[in-house]
C-alpha cells in the first residue's frame, strides 16, 4: 500500500476526481450569480433604482458587458438587450431568476454529492480488496502475531471512514475553498473593510482550531488501537471459551473486559470534551463576524457610505461563508483523522509482514506429474528456538512410492513433511523432483499436485460438499449463464476497482481432471471416498435429516412418494403398522403435537414456529373462527397446573426441565402468577395470559405427555379446524407454512419425514430402531441410497466444522485431499482423532488408493512402517532412508459388511 493516503487516492481515482472538480468549477458562476441576485432584487426592484429616472419600464435579462479598462475601456458590448418590464414585473422576474439559480445550484450539488459517494464506495471496495489480498500474503512469521479478529475489524470497520473521506479528499477543499473565496471576494467587492474583518476572523479560526485539534488526533489513534484490541480480545475469549468454563475464569475475564471498556470510555470522554470545546470556540468565532458586520456595516450604512442593499448582500454572502469554512475546517480535521487511521492500517499490513505477490494462476509448462527422482541435498532445518534439527541431511527416493517418516518423538519428521508439502520454506538446501526445484514450483502446480493433511482439519462453514471440492477450485473454467447486462456492469465495476472479474457462480470445479462428466458423477466420487474412509453411514443419516430441494434432487423428489408408499406397504405386511402413525388429512395424529395437527404442515418462517405460533395473528384468527381458542386456553391452564405441581421443588436449570417440561424453569413463576390470578377469580384472563396459556397445548403430544387432555370430540374438532387454518393462511397469502400433501413432497420437512410421512409411535417399544431399519431397507431396495447420501453432502458443517465430530472433520479433510488425486499426499497427524484400529485401516486404505502416486506419512514409531516402501528416520540431525526389504504384501481392504447395516435413529 502507498505510504500516503493522498497518493493512494490520487493514483486510483485521478480521472474521477478531476471530472468532479471540473463540474465543481463549472458550478461556481451560477453560485456567484445566486449571491448577487438578492442585491439586485432589493436595490433595483424594491427600492426602484432601475426606475430612478422616471422610466416606467426597465430592461430585464439584459446581457451586456462593459469592456474592462485594460482593453481600451469605455465601450460596452450588448448580447441581448432584454425585455422591458414594469416594477412588479422586474421584481417577479428577478425573483424567478433567483429561484432558477437555486434549482441549478441544487442540481449541481446533487450530482456532485452522488458522484463523490460513488467514488468513495469504489475506492473503499478497492481498498478492502487490496487489504484482503494482503491478508492472503501474510508470512508464517507474521501469522504468529496477527490476530484474525483484529484484521477483520480493520478491513470491515476501520477503513470505512477512510472510504467515506475519499470522495471528499480533493473535491471538498476545491469546492468549499472556491465557495469561500467567491463569497469572500464578493464581500471584498462590496466593501473592502468588511471583507478584511471577515478575512481576519477566518485567519484566527484557521490557526487556532487545528492546533487545538492536534490532541484530538492523538486520542483518536489511542481509541482506534484500544477498540481494535477489544475486538481481538472478545474473539479470543470466544475462541477459548472452553478454557474459561473449565477454569471458571468468568470473574477474571469480566474484569479484564470491564477494564478495557473503562479505558476506552476514558479515552472517548477526553475526545468528547475536547471536541465540543473546539466546536464551541469555532462557533463563537464564526458568530463574531456578523457582530462586526452589524455594528460596523450598520454604522457605515447610517453614515451613508454603504447602501443598505450592499449591507444585506454582504450579510447574505457572509451567511454563505461560515458553512463552507466550517466544513473546510472539518475536512481538515477529517483529513488528519483518516491519515492517522490509514497509517494504523498500513502498519498492520507492513511490507515486512507480507510474502511475495501471489501468482496462483499460471501453471504453464511446469505442470508435469511430480514423479522421478526426489532428491534432497544438504538440508538444514532449524527449530523454533534456533536449534538445528536437521543438519546436512540428504535423501534420494524414486517417486512414486510410499514413505514412512518415522518421528520417534522428534520434531524432524513433521517439519520435513511440512517442507515437502510446501507448507514451510524455512530450511536451507536443495530439494528437487526430477529437474525441478521443489521450492520454485508455482503454486498452481503444488496446489494441484500436492496435498497435505495436518493435525488440524480446517473446514470452512458451508456444506460438506463445499468443503470436499474446495481443493478443486483453482480457477474458473467456464461461465455459467448470467444476465448479460448485469455481468457487464459487474465486470466493469471490478475492473474499475482492481477486483477480480471472476464470479463465484462460474464453474470452478474441473470435472474432467477427476474423470467425472458432471456434478452428479463428482458426487458419486465423493460419496465413494467418504464411504471408504468410513463416513458412509453418517452421510446417509445426514441425508435423512436433510431437506430436499425438488429443483436440485429431481430424481429423488420424483421417487420419494413411491418410496413413501413402499414403506407403508412394508409396515403393513410386516405387522409394523402400529409403529408409525401416518399423516392423514382426515385423522388426528396422536403422535404429533396439537400445533402440527392444526397446521398439518411444516412452518417455514419463524413466526409460525414454536411458541411464536400462539402469537401469530393469522393463526389466532383461524382458531378463533374454529371456536377453538377457549378450549386450547383451558388445556393450557390444565397443563400449567400439572406442570407447576409436578415440577415444583426442582431447582431452576435442572436438566429435567429442559427435557420434559412445557415450561422453562424461569417461566414457572409467571405461570404460577397466572394461575393465582385466575384462582382469585379476577374475572377473565388477560390477553397476554391467554396467549401464553395458548402456547402450552400447541406443543402437547397426547401419546407422549399422557395428560388426558384430548378426547375424540376434541381431536375431531382439531381435524376440522385444519381446513380452516389452511384457508385463512392461504387467503392471507402467507408463505409461512408448507402444508403436507400425501402425494407430494414437503420440502420444508426433513427427508426422513417425507419418507415416513408420519410420526414414529412413542408407545411401541423399540419403535425407532425398527423403523430405521425398515427405512434403510426400502431406500436400498429402491436404489435411493446414493440420492439420500447426496442430500447428506449438503449437511452444513458449521463454523470451523464444529457441527461435525473430530473424526468426521478428519474424514472430510482426508477426502478433500484424496479427491484432488494428488501426485504427492503428505499425511502428518491427520489420523490422530481415530482409534488405533481405525487409523490402521485408514492407513492401509491410503496405501491402496495411492499405489500409483506417492504417499508421505508421519508415523510415531516404526511399528506400522513395514507397509511402506521406504522408511525415513532421523538421527543426530541426519536423514536415513531405508528401502523396506520386502514390503509386506498389502492385505486387500476388508470388504465392507454387506448388506450394510445402517445404524441410527430415523425420527
Amino acid at each position: 500500500m502507498e505510504k500516503s493516503l493522498f497518493r493512494y487516492i490520487w493514483t486510483h481515482s485521478k480521472r474521477d476526481q478531476m471530472i468532479i472538480c471540473a463540474v465543481v468549477l463549472a458550478s461556481l458562476p451560477f453560485y456567484f450569480m445566486s449571491l448577487d441576485l438578492p442585491r439586485q432584487i432589493v436595490n433595483q426592484a424594491i427600492q426602484g433604482e432601475a426606475f430612478r429616472d422616471g422610466n416606467p419600464t426597465a430592461p430585464f435579462l439584459n446581457l451586456s458587458f462593459d469592456w474592462p479598462g485594460w482593453l481600451g475601456g469605455g465601450g460596452s458590448w450588448e448580447i441581448f438587450e432584454g425585455f422591458q418590464v414594469g416594477r412588479v414585473g422586474l421584481l417577479m422576474g428577478l425573483s424567478f431568476v433567483f429561484l432558477f439559480f437555486v434549482i441549478v445550484n441544487g442540481a449541481f450539488k446533487y450530482w456532485i454529492n452522488v458522484s463523490k459517494g460513488v467514488l468513495g464506495e469504489r475506492m473503499l471496495r478497492r481498498m478492502r480488496f487490496d487489504l484482503f489480498s494482503m491478508v492472503l500474503r501474510f508470512t508464517p512469521d507474521a501469522l504468529r502475531t496477527v490476530k484474525s479478529s483484529e484484521t477483520a475489524t480493520i478491513i470491515k470497520d476501520e477503513v470505512e471512514p477512510i472510504g467515506g473521506f475519499i470522495g471528499d479528499a480533493f473535491i471538498t477543499p476545491v469546492f468549499l475553498g472556491t465557495q469561500a473565496i467567491t463569497a469572500l471576494v464578493f464581500i471584498m467587492v462590496q466593501n473592502v473593510w468588511l471583507g478584511l474583518i471577515a478575512l481576519s476572523v477566518i485567519a484566527v479560526q484557521f490557526t487556532i482550531i487545528p492546533r487545538l485539534r492536534r490532541e484530538l488526533l492523538r486520542l483518536g489513534k489511542q481509541r482506534q488501537l484500544a477498540s481494535r484490541q477489544l475486538a481481538g480480545r472478545i474473539a479470543e475469549v470466544l475462541d477459548g471459551i472452553e478454557v474459561v468454563h473449565v477454569h471458571n475464569a468468568y470473574g477474571w475475564e469480566r474484569a479484564e473486559i470491564g477494564h478495557r471498556l473503562f479505558n476506552l470510555f476514558t479515552i472517548r470522554l477526553k475526545i468528547y470534551n475536547r471536541k465540543f470545546f473546539v466546536k464551541t470556540l469555532n462557533n463563537f468565532l464564526a458568530q463574531l463576524t456578523p457582530f462586526f458586520f452589524y455594528a460596523i456595516g450598520g454604522y457605515f450604512a447610517l453614515r451613508g457610505t454603504l447602501d443598505i442593499g450592499q449591507l444585506v448582500a454582504v450579510i447574505a454572502a457572509y451567511r454563505e461563508l461560515p458553512p463552507p469554512l466550517k466544513e473546510l475546517i472539518d475536512w481538515d480535521q477529517q483529513r488528519l483523522d483518516v491519515q492517522v487511521k490509514y497509517d494504523q492500517v498500513t502498519q498492520h499490513f507492513a511490507e515486512d509482514r507480507l510474502g511475495p505477490l501471489l501468482e496462483s494462476r499460471e501453471a504453464g509448462e511446469a505442470d508435469q506429474p511430480l514423479t522421478g527422482s526426489f532428491v534432497g541435498e544438504d538440508i538444514r532445518i532449524a527449530g523454533p528456538h534456533g536449534d538445528l534439527i536437521i543438519e546436512g541431511g540428504a535423501f534420494t527416493i524414486e517417486l512414486p512410492t510410499s514413505v514412512a517418516l518415522i518421528s520417534n518423538g522428534g520434531a524432524a519428521a513433521s517439519m520435513l513433511a511440512r517442507i515437502l508439502a510446501r507448507r514451510s520454506l524455512e530450511f536451507s538446501g536443495r530439494i528437487r523432483i526430477g529437474e525441478r526445484d521443489l521450492t520454485q514450483l508455482p503454486m498452481a502446480v503444488t496446489g494441484h499436485r500436492i496435498a497435505y493433511a495436518g493435525v488440524d482439519p480446517i473446514l470452512f462453514p458451508g456444506s460438506i460438499r463445499d468443503n470436499l471440492v474446495y481443493g478443486l477450485r483453482s480457477k474458473p473454467l467456464g461461465r455459467l449463464k448470467e444476465d448479460r447486462q448485469e455481468m457487464d456492469r459487474r465486470i466493469a465495476e471490478a475492473l474499475r476497482t482492481g477486483n477480480p472479474i471472476e464470479s463465484i457462480s462460474d464453474q470452478w470445479v474441473d470435472y474432467e481432471r477427476l474423470g467425472a462428466k458432471d456434478e452428479n458423477e463428482l458426487d458419486r466420487i465423493l460419496l465413494d471416498l467418504l464411504d471408504k474412509v468410513g463416513m458412509g453411514d453418517t452421510i446417509y443419516l445426514f441425508g435423512l435429516a436433510g431437506r430436499i430441494d425438488p429443483e436440485r434432487h429431481t430424481s429423488l423428489a420424483e421417487r420419494l412418494v413411491e418410496a413413501r408408499h413402499r414403506l407403508r406397504d412394508t409396515f403393513q405386511s410386516n405387522g409394523m403398522a402400529d409403529l408409525v402413525e401416518p399423516f392423514d388429512p382426515a385423522c388426528y395424529n396422536s403422535q404429533a403435537t396439537i400445533a402440527e395437527n392444526l397446521l398439518f404442515g411444516v412452518p417455514i418462517s419463524d413466526e409460525f414456529k414454536g411458541r411464536n405460533l400462539a402469537d401469530n395473528a393469522q393463526f389466532r384468527d383461524a382458531i378463533d373462527r374454529a371456536e377453538m381458542t377457549d378450549d386450547l386456553v383451558r388445556m393450557g391452564l390444565q397443563i400449567a397446573e400439572t406442570m407447576t405441581e409436578i415440577f415444583e421443588g426442582l431447582p431452576p436449570g435442572h436438566s429435567l426441565f429442559e427435557q420434559f417440561s412445557f415450561i422453562g424453569a424461569d417461566e414457572l413463576t409467571e405461570f404460577e402468577a397466572i394461575l393465582r390470578r385466575r384462582g382469585r377469580g379476577e374475572g377473565s384472563l388477560r390477553r397476554e395470559d391467554r396467549t401464553r396459556l395458548l402456547s402450552l397445548p400447541l406443543a402437547y403430544i397426547e401419546a407422549r405427555h399422557r395428560l388426558g387432555l384430548l378426547d375424540d370430540a376434541m381431536t375431531g374438532r382439531i381435524v376440522e379446524a385444519r381446513g380452516l387454518v389452511r384457508e385463512v393462511l392461504e387467503k392471507a397469502g402467507s408463505a409461512g407454512v408448507e402444508f403436507y400433501d400425501p402425494e407430494g413432497i414437503c420440502s420444508a420437512a426433513p427427508l426422513r419425514d417425507n419418507l415416513l410421512f408420519g410420526r414414529v409411535s412413542y408407545q411401541v417399544a423399540n419403535a425407532r430402531a425398527r423403523v430405521a431399519e425398515a427405512v434403510a431397507a426400502v431406500v436400498r431396495e429402491l436404489n435411493l441410497q446414493e440420492e439420500v447420501e447426496r442430500v447428506g453432502l449438503e449437511y452444513q458443517v458449521g463454523t470451523a466444522g464444529r457441527l461435525l465430530s473430530p473424526q468426521e472433520r478428519a474424514s472430510v479433510n482426508l477426502v478433500r485431499c484424496l479427491v484432488k488425486r494428488p501426485d504427492i499426499l503428505v499425511i502428518d497427524g491427520a489420523l490422530a482423532p481415530f482409534d488405533e484400529a481405525r487409523s490402521q485401516q485408514l492407513m492401509q486404505l491410503l496405501l491402496d488408493l495411492l499405489d500409483q502416486q506417492s504417499l508421505f506419512m508421519v508415523l510415531p514409531n516404526d511399528r506400522q512402517a513395514g507397509d511402506f516402501d521406504v522408511q525415513m528416520r532421523f538421527r543426530d540431525g541426519q536423514i536415513i532412508t531405508d528401502k523396506t526389504a520386502a514390503p509386506a504384501p498389502r492385505p486387500s481392504m476388508p470388504e465392507p459388511d454387506a448388506p450394510q447395516r445402517i445404524a441410527g435413529e430415523v425420527a
Binding site: 402400529d578 405441581e645 431447582p651 427435557q659 399422557r706 395428560l707 411401541v764 417399544a765
Partner: protein
C-alpha cells in the same frame, strides 16, 4: 390410560408406596409408556441396564439363560417393578424379561430416575426403606433355609 392411572399403578409398587404423590406424578411424566408385543423382549440378560419398567397391563416372563436354553423362573403381572436393581447397582441385566402377551409398561429411564433420587431425598429414603425390607426378608429366608 392417562398420567393419573399410571400414578395409581406406581402407587401399588411397594418401592414407591411412600413417595409424595407430586413426585410420583413427575416420575410418571418423565417416563415413557411403551407397548411390547407378545414375545418381545424388554431386555436381555447381559444388556447394560438403562431403564426400569413398571408393568401397567399384561404379563411378562423372567427368563434365565442357562446352558440348556432359557428357563422361566418367574412371571410378573400388573404393577410389578422390574429392572430397578440393575439401574441402582449399575450392573448388567441379570435376567431376560419377555412379554408373555401384549404388554404395556412404564419405562423409567435410568438417568432420570437417578436424578430424581438425587434431587428428592424423601424419594431416596423411600427406596432405601424398601431395599432394607427386602434385605430383611432375604435374611429371614436364609435363616429359615439354614434352620430347615
Amino acid at each position: 390410560m392417562t398420567l393419573e392411572t399410571e400414578v395409581q399403578s406406581l402407587r401399588q409398587v411397594p418401592m414407591f408406596r411412600d413417595v409424595d404423590p407430586a413426585r410420583l406424578k413427575l416420575l410418571a411424566f418423565t417416563s415413557e409408556r411403551v407397548q411390547f408385543a407378545g414375545g418381545q423382549r424388554f431386555f436381555s440378560q447381559g444388556d447394560p441396564s438403562d431403564a426400569a419398567y413398571v408393568i401397567l397391563d399384561g404379563r411378562a416372563s423372567v427368563l434365565l439363560n442357562t446352558p440348556g436354553g432359557d428357563i422361566q423362573v418367574a412371571e410378573l403381572g400388573s404393577n410389578a417393578l422390574v429392572g430397578e436393581m440393575g439401574i441402582l447397582s449399575d450392573t448388567p441385566r441379570s435376567a431376560t424379561i419377555m412379554a408373555a402377551e401384549p404388554t404395556t409398561a412404564l419405562r423409567i429411564d435410568k438417568r432420570v430416575f437417578l436424578e430424581l433420587l438425587a434431587q428428592f431425598p424423601q424419594m431416596s429414603l423411600a427406596i432405601m426403606r424398601e431395599l432394607a425390607k427386602r434385605l430383611e426378608r432375604t435374611n429371614a429366608q436364609l435363616v429359615a433355609q439354614s434352620s430347615s
